[in-house]
Each structure stands twice: as structure tokens, then as C-alpha cells.
């Protein structure tokens, strides 16, 4: 009948479209699968998946202080490098050195025939120029980034083309400073003078290192390094021609790429993934004690944490073993004071607090607090997104409930967390501030000083600790570290005893770096003095 309006065809047009769409999607999926079956050819390119955003933040070597350290330590070089296993300094751009008896004059003999990537040769003038520029800042307004480390230097003198002399204002361990991961790199004075600060930010570099920056793709957040043919170390033996350093903030992506062989090295993955990767014969896990630890600062200016018995009680209530075993999966050890294991200045014979609720309750009762009632609320601030800090906080919370403290967890972005800690009124601030610390250069003072030396303006002494005796001990230690290491260690030890006694912070744990990499990547040694840096010159691939 003509009135039959809706035409009921066997296959209506809409259905046909839907089927076509499904077929197309299926075809694409199958096609994609085949792409993954295709064996990836193995050029001599290594890939490093870096768990951060923004691979390079600061391009000017006089102000580096961020993620680019991973790139720059392959592109630029220092006078010396620090080798933790032997606790000594390895010659890089300087071949030998001497120190005067009073520790105020250092003479360095420089390596000859070192070329910058621009073609010019490195001389003592380059060293003097680089360090002075770091000290006065590229705009002459004062040190930027980590270059404050050069503060002890009074003057730099060029003795001859390959000898440079540092005269210090006060004794300090200049070798340590010269080996720093940031702001201790030597760069070409002629080109810097000619092109200036902005030129660096256009994507240029002036290093002496084995690799040059071939390209930087901002959108993909990826740096491609290519071998510098005139590198003073030469290219005998097995090396990579190119290295790609890529930002991969998502660990699931990084892990996938590692397992697929697309990536050779990932700087960190969650411990659960590490446990799973342990079974994979193509993946190797490298563990090294890190110079990194986790601390929880007590707000010593606010009730109740201004009472030392309360702080000690809380330190006795921390479930150290649970945290280390469950949260860190054994990849950490309980701290002995704030200087981490593996760094000189760490003392194995320092006492530790252990998990002991009885003792905690005793201490509270000794100052008139009844731990069997809920007597206060404390705010625990940590870096939002950091699973270790969060989980440690939750375990701590459960324990503190047993001694009558209600712990409130607050995850915040670092800037907010820090901003809160700097509020003028101590009552507005948090009670427990949790953060990691790692050094700018491998010296215990970078742990003992910034975090516990009394401050007029709050920067990193986030327990607001103020002890003149302590200040004196570490200042002395710092001055003498360059010439009398043993004496410095003794002074630092005494200082740490004070910290453990006064308890301005919870010393949770010293971490390990746990690096997953392809088993075929050889030559990699983790140097905690250069956090997350892979020295690619030493690496090669072997199936």
C-alpha cells in the first residue's frame, strides 16, 4: 500500500552506516596491532624516559636548577666529578689540583685540547669567565639557580692558559663545589660574550661534553643528543650515536615503552611496577643508595609540638617498619639522623627512635597529657600526588589515633605547601611538614644547614628550629671540611646528636634509587651525587 511510509528495507541505511563504521574501526585496530608486531630496528639510539614534565627549564648554564640537569651533565662538564664508592674526585676538565695549607687557595691544572661544541678551545680564561658569570649572575644581579654554591670564592686568577687559581674568602671544600651537578659547568666565554643570555634560550648550548643537543621539541618535550665528534675523550669502543631524553610523566606509559623495548631507561616507576618487572628477563633493576631522604618537620613554634616530649612521643609512634616494608617495599632504610646513608658525615652509630607505643604514651603522661583521650588535632601537609608521602601519612594517622592524636592529611601542590609553611603567624601553619631532601652537591652541610640552621626569613628550616649551639657546630664543620675531613665529621656527628635529642623532625627513611632499564643497556652506574643523571658516554647496548 502506498501509505506504508517508513520503508522497512532489510538493511536500512543507518544500519549500513553503523556497520561500515564498525568495520573501519576494526580494520584500524588490526592494522595498529600489526604495527606493533613489526620488529623495531635497533639503531644506536638510546632512549631515556624521564618522569617529569619539561625536560629543559633553564638553558643558561649559570642558572640551572631543575630537570635539565639530566641533559646538561651529558652536554656540559665540570672541573671534577664526585665518585661516591671511592669518596674521591675524578678529574674531568681539570687533571690535577693542589690546596694550600690554610685551605684558602686552590690551583687547578686544566686538560689540554678540550674543545667546546662551538669549536673554540677551553682554557683557564673559560673557567674564570664561567664561574665568575655564575657568581655575578648573567645580568650582574647576583647568583641565580644553584650558583650560590660559589659564595666562598673571593677571586679567580688565570695563572697561565691551563692553570687557574681560586682564592677563597673562608675555607670550604672547593672540590665538592666544583663537582656540583648544577652551575659548575664550564662553557665557552667567547660565544657567550658574543651571543648572550637570550641565545641560550633559543636552544643553544656551549658545552664540552660528549654529546651535543641536536634538537629540542617543545611539544613532544624531548631532547635529542648527538655525539660530539671532537670530544676529548675520543670515541673508541662502544658508544651510542644518539640519545633521546624524553619527558614521560605517566609511569604507565613509561613502563609500557620500557617493556616494548622502545625505551632503554626509566628514571623511576612505582614500586608495585618494579616488583612486577623484576620477573621480566629483559629488564634489569638497578638499586643504589640515594642521597635522598624523607623528613617530617614539626612546627616547633606551635602547641603542642613546642613541647619536646610530645615530639619524641610522636617519633616513637611512627610505624617505621610498616612504612619501609609496605609503602617503600623495602627500598629504603630507616634514617639515622638527617644525613643519608652513603654520604660522608652519616654516622651509623647515631641512635634512632623505634616504634614503641608504650614509650610514646609514657612521654605524653610525663607532661600531663592523657593519651587515652583524643587531645589534639594535627595537620600533616605533603606533596599532592606523592603516593609514598600519602601512604606513610595514612599509616602514621592510624598509629597516632592510638595515642589520642587526630592527624589530618592535606595534600597540596608544592608551592602551596611551602607557602603555608612560611605564613607569618606560626598558628596558621601546618603541624607536620613532609618533604624529601636531596643535595645540591655531595656534602652533609647541604642537609644540616638549609634545613636546620636558624633562619631570619623562613626558607627551608621548616621545623623553625633555633639552636645556637647547633648553628656553631655545623658552621665550624663547614669551614673545616675542605682541609680536615675527620674533624668535620666529628663536629657534624655532634650536631646530629643534638637534632636527634631535640627532635625537630621525624627522620622517616633514606631512600634507594630504583632504576628499571633494559638488560641490554650496559655500562650504567648510578651516581647519587648526580640525581637521575645517566652518563651516556659510558653506556652501550649489548644483546
Amino acid at each position: 500500500m502506498k501509505g506504508n511510509i517508513i520503508n522497512k528495507n532489510a538493511v536500512t541505511r543507518m544500519q549500513a552506516i553503523l556497520i561500515a563504521v564498525i568495520i573501519v574501526i576494526a580494520a584500524v585496530i588490526v592494522g595498529a596491532y600489526y604495527i606493533f608486531l613489526k620488529p623495531a630496528p635497533k639503531p644506536l639510539i638510546a632512549v631515556y624516559a624521564y618522569a617529569t614534565t619539561d625536560v629543559i627549564v633553564f638553558w643558561d648554564p649559570s642558572e640551572t636548577y631543575s630537570n635539565e640537569v639530566v641533559v646538561f651533565n651529558n652536554v656540559y662538564e665540570q672541573l671534577v666529578r664526585y665518585d661516591p664508592p671511592t669518596d674521591s674526585f675524578v678529574p674531568v676538565l681539570a687533571t690535577s689540583w693542589s690546596v694550600s695549607d690554610d685551605g684558602l687557595v686552590y690551583n687547578f691544572t686544566l686538560r689540554k685540547g678540550v674543545k667546546f661544541h662551538c669549536g673554540h678551545e677551553m682554557t683557564a680564561h673559560s673557567v674564570k669567565y664561567s664561574i665568575e658569570r655564575n657568581m655575578r649572575g648573567w645580568d650582574g644581579q647576583g647568583p641565580r639557580g644553584a650558583s650560590y654554591i660559589w659564595d666562598p670564592v673571593e677571586q679567580i686568577n688565570v695563572i697561565d692558559n691551563y692553570t687557574v687559581q681560586f682564592v677563597l674568602k673562608y675555607p670550604a671544600s672547593l672540590l665538592t663545589i666544583a663537582s656540583a651537578a648544577y652551575c659548575a659547568h664550564i662553557y665557552c666565554e667567547k660565544c657567550t660574550e658574543q651571543y648572550g643570555h637570550e641565545w641560550f634560550y633559543e636552544g643553544h648550548e656551549l658545552g664540552t661534553g660528549p654529546y651535543k643537543i641536536e634538537s629540542y621539541d617543545k611539544a613532544k618535550d624531548m631532547v635529542v643528543l648527538a655525539k660530539f665528534d671532537d670530544y676529548w675523550g675520543g670515541w673508541k669502543g662502544k658508544h651510542f650515536d644518539k640519545v633521546i631524553i624524553k619527558s614521560v610523566p605517566e609511569w604507565s606509559t613509561a613502563r609500557m615503552q620500557l617493556e616494548a623495548g622502545e625505551v632503554d631507561f626509566v628514571d623511576r616507576l612505582p614500586y608495585e611496577d618494579i616488583a612486577a618487572l623484576q620477573q621480566n628477563p629483559k629488564i634489569e633493576i638497578v638499586r643504589t643508595p640515594a642521597y635522598q631522604n624523607l623528613l617530617g618537620f614539626f612546627n616547633t613554634e606551635k602547641y603542642p609540638l613546642n613541647i619536646s616530649e610530645v615530639r619524641k612521643a610522636i617519633s616513637y609512634a611512627v610505624p617505621y617498619n610498616d612504612i619501609i616494608n609496605t609503602v617503600m617495599r623495602g627500598n629504603a632504610r630507616q634514617s639515622k639522623g638527617p644525613v643519608p646513608y652513603g654520604l660522608w658525615g652519616h654516622s651509623e652509630d647515631l641512635p634512632q627512635y623505634t616504634y614503641n607505643l608504650t614509650k610514646a604514651k609514657e612521654l605524653l603522661r610525663s607532661v600531663g597529657i592523657d593519651p587515652d583521650t583524643q587531645w589534639c588535632t594535627l595537620i600533616y601537609t605533603y606533596n599532592a600526588g606523592d603516593e609514598y608521602e600519602r601512604r606513610a601519612g595514612e599509616l602514621l594517622k592510624a598509629e597516632l589515633t592510638k595515642i589520642g592524636i587526630n592527624l589530618q592529611l592535606q595534600g597540596m601542590p608544592w608551592e602551596q605547601q611551602w607557602g603555608l609553611a612560611q605564613s607569618p603567624n606560626p598558628e596558621d601553619r601546618q603541624d607536620i611538614f613532609v618533604m624529601y631532601w636531596w643535595p645540591d652537591y655531595p656534602d652533609p652541610y647541604t642537609f644540616l644547614g638549609p634545613m636546620f640552621h636558624s633562619e631570619e626569613e623562613i626558607v627551608f628550616n621548616l621545623g623553625y628550629y633555633d639552636n645556637p649551639e647547633y648553628d656553631r657546630l655545623i658552621e665550624e664543620g663547614f669551614a673545616i671540611a675542605g682541609t680536615n675531613r675527620t674533624r668535620a665529621e666529628e663536629l657534624y656527628r655532634q650536631a646530629q646528636m643534638l637534632l636527634i635529642e631535640d627532635c625537630p623532625a621525624i627522620f622517616f627513611f633514606d631512600m634507594q634509587y630504583v632504576r628499571p632499564k633494559r638488560a641490554s643497556l650496559k655500562g650504567y652506574v648510578d651516581n647519587p651525587a648526580y640525581a637521575h643523571v645517566v652518563f651516556w658516554y659510558n653506556c652501550y647496548r649489548e644483546e
Partner: protein, 344 residues
């Protein structure tokens, strides 16, 4: 002609209003992002800044000036096209936005296309066969689409297609090795188009494999919208007299549905889609985070969380401009196409 005059008046009025609105957006975002500072100077310096460095950074960033002066300086720069420098990335904000824009456009565009391909036929079917089983299914799907928590859908997709089936990658836009060995020539900035245009089929397959899952997740919400809009507007239109007349004349139902009814329903649907497109450029940040997609949304989320105020303001102004422009264009088109729309 009266119509042309009215049109001109309409355009001028809308543009003026849009400018006022845009200015208001600037004021609002400026005061939100700056009134309660979280020490952006420290963020600018780096990892472990000292007090003097922070003080110096404050001067450099102009943070020591009174608020209204800062605002004036900002507005002045804005008029010269300078959106300031991101505190987090140390790059000009406009550069950041432009570098992440193509990725977002590609993702949202692909998602919208999928949404339309699925949504229109679905909407039409359910409008023409009201209250049948397909109507119920489409209603479930469309409301389901707007009810789903997109990051969750993304994660489930990753679980299924990456972890359990091993068919699709877990994230990113393209695999590293492919991007080095078969680099995509930059013509439009869209990987799918550029790889085809330059005959780079390896890269095309790779890019496609990477975009499917996130695009499907992005498509969920607009698909729901489209289906609903088509269904309800078509259902209305199908009641109209002229449709009944056409049917009485014996014009087959299929033609009636598509030619006449659909055409009328497309108008409001396109409006809705265009506006949701503007929103989606940023609202997909949850999806971008889950898939590590280097787009504007992810950049926006990171900027907001780290209180990178120049970036926040830059993004807000950018999106507002896009939204207002799209709004304007859509209104104008409607005014031109459909004279019934009041121009006053």
C-alpha cells in the same frame, strides 16, 4: 534594506558586548589568580631557592608593584599580544598554548567526528521510531554518554585494550622510535593528516593506534548530546504540519526523515556542538591526563594546580576568545540562514 541594517546593528552590538565580556574575563581571572599568591617568585627560581633569589625574582616578575599597576601592565601587554611568561615552563604562554593546541584540536576533532557519525543515525532512528526498543537503547546510550566519568572510561579502556588485550598503546600521541625514524612532517600539526599528506603510512598507523582510545572517550559526551538533540528536535519537527503533508503525498519515510526533518534539526545541534567544542578544548584535561596526551587541557590542569598565574590567565582568555568567537559565528549564521531568528 532593512534586513542589512538590522544585521549590521546586530553584529556591532554583539561585538561590543563580546569585548566587554572578554574584558570582564581578564579582570576576573587576574584577580583570582593574583589576589591570593602562593609565592610564584619561588617557583620561578627553581628547586632550593635562597631568600635573596626569591626577592630578586619578585622584582623581576613585577610582583612588588601594587595590584592595580600589575593589572594595567598586564592589560597593556595583552593588547600587544603578549600573554606573559609561564612561571612553570619559563616560556611565553602564547608559545606554550600554540604548541599544545594542535594536539588538543586533533583529539577533540576526532572525538567529535566519531560522536557525530554515531550520534546522528542513532538520533534519527530513535526519533522516527519513538518508544521502540531502539529508542530506549539510544536514550540509554545518550544519557550514559553524558553520565560517564571520562577518566574512568579512559582507564577501563586502557585496562581492556592495553593491559588485557595488548592491542593499543596506553598513552602518548606517537611512539618514540616511530617519531625519530619516521618523523612526521609538520604541515598542519595534525599527525593523522600530515602523515597521510606526506605518504608516511607507518607513522599514520602509529598515530591512529594512539588516538583511537582517547578519541572514543572524548566522543562519549558529545555523542550523548548529539543523539539527544537530534532526537528531540526531530521528534518536534516530525510533528509539524509540513511533514505530515509530505508523508500524505507519499514521499518515502526515509527521505522525509533525512531531507526535511534532519535539516531542521541540524541547526540547534551544530550550535550545541560548536559550543561544546570550545569547552572541550580544556575540559578534556582529565582525559589528557589519563592518556598523557600533550594537549591544552593537560597544560591547563598543570598550570592551575601549580598556580602558574600567567598561564592560567592566558588559557582562560584564549578559551574565552574561542568561545565568544564561536558563539558569534553561530549566532550570525543562524541569523542569516533563518530569518525567523530575532535580530534585536
Amino acid at each position: 534594506m532593512d534586513f542589512a541594517v538590522k544585521l549590521r546593528y546586530f553584529i556591532i552590538r554583539r561585538i561590543l558586548l563580546s569585548i566587554i565580556v572578554l574584558f570582564g574575563v581578564c579582570v576576573i581571572t587576574f584577580f583570582i589568580a593574583r589576589v591570593i599568591p602562593a609565592n610564584p617568585a619561588a617557583m620561578w627560581v627553581g628547586a632550593h631557592p635562597t631568600q635573596e633569589q626569591i626577592e630578586r625574582a619578585k622584582k623581576e616578575l613585577g610582583l612588588d608593584q601594587p595590584l592595580h599597576i600589575q593589572f594595567l601592565i598586564y592589560m597593556n601587554k595583552l593588547l600587544h599580544g603578549d600573554l606573559g611568561v609561564s612561571i612553570r615552563t619559563h616560556r611565553p604562554v602564547i608559545e606554550d598554548i600554540l604548541s599544545y593546541l594542535p594536539a588538543s584540536l586533533e583529539l577533540v576533532g576526532t572525538g567529535m567526528i566519531i560522536a557525530v557519525i554515531i550520534g546522528i543515525p542513532l538520533g534519527v532512528e530513535s526519533a522516527t521510531k519513538k518508544d521502540s526498543w531502539i529508542d530506549h537503547v539510544s536514550r540509554l546510550l545518550s544519557i550514559g554518554g553524558v553520565s560517564i566519568f571520562t577518566p574512568w572510561l579512559g582507564m577501563m579502556g586502557q585496562l581492556l585494550f592495553f593491559k588485557w588485550l595488548g592491542l593499543l598503546p596506553v598513552g602518548d600521541r606517537i611512539s618514540t622510535i616511530v617519531s625519530i625514524q619516521y618523523p612526521i612532517q609538520k604541515i598542519t600539526g595534525f599527525y593523522l593528516i600530515d602523515s597521510i599528506l606526506s605518504g608516511n603510512f607507518v607513522a599514520f598507523q602509529d598515530a591512529l593506534a594512539h588516538i583511537i582510545l582517547p578519541a572514543l572517550v572524548v566522543a562519549a559526551y558529545p555523542m550523548g548530546l548529539v543523539t539527544r538533540m537530534i532526537r528531540s528536535t526531530m521528534a518536534d519537527v516530525l510533528e509539524e504540519d509540513f511533514i505530515r503533508t509530505a508523508k500524505a503525498y507519499g514521499i518515502p519515510g526515509r527521505i522525509v526523515a533525512y531531507k526535511y526533518a534532519l535539516k531542521n534539526s541540524l541547526g540547534p545541534t551544530i550550535t550545541v556542538l560548536a559550543l561544546s567544542f570550545a569547552y572541550s578544548l580544556v575540559e578534556t584535561f582529565l582525559i589528557e591526563m589519563v592518556f598523557n596526551w600533550p594537549g591544552l587541557g593537560r597544560y591547563a590542569a598543570f598550570s592551575i594546580i601549580s598556580l602558574d598565574y600567567p598561564a592560567i590567565m592566558g588559557i582562560a582568555i584564549f578559551i574565552a576568545i574561542v568561545y565568544i568567537l564561536l558563539n558569534l559565528i553561530v549566532d550570525l549564521l543562524q541569523a542569516v540562514i533563518d530569518p525567523r531568528v530575532r535580530l534585536g
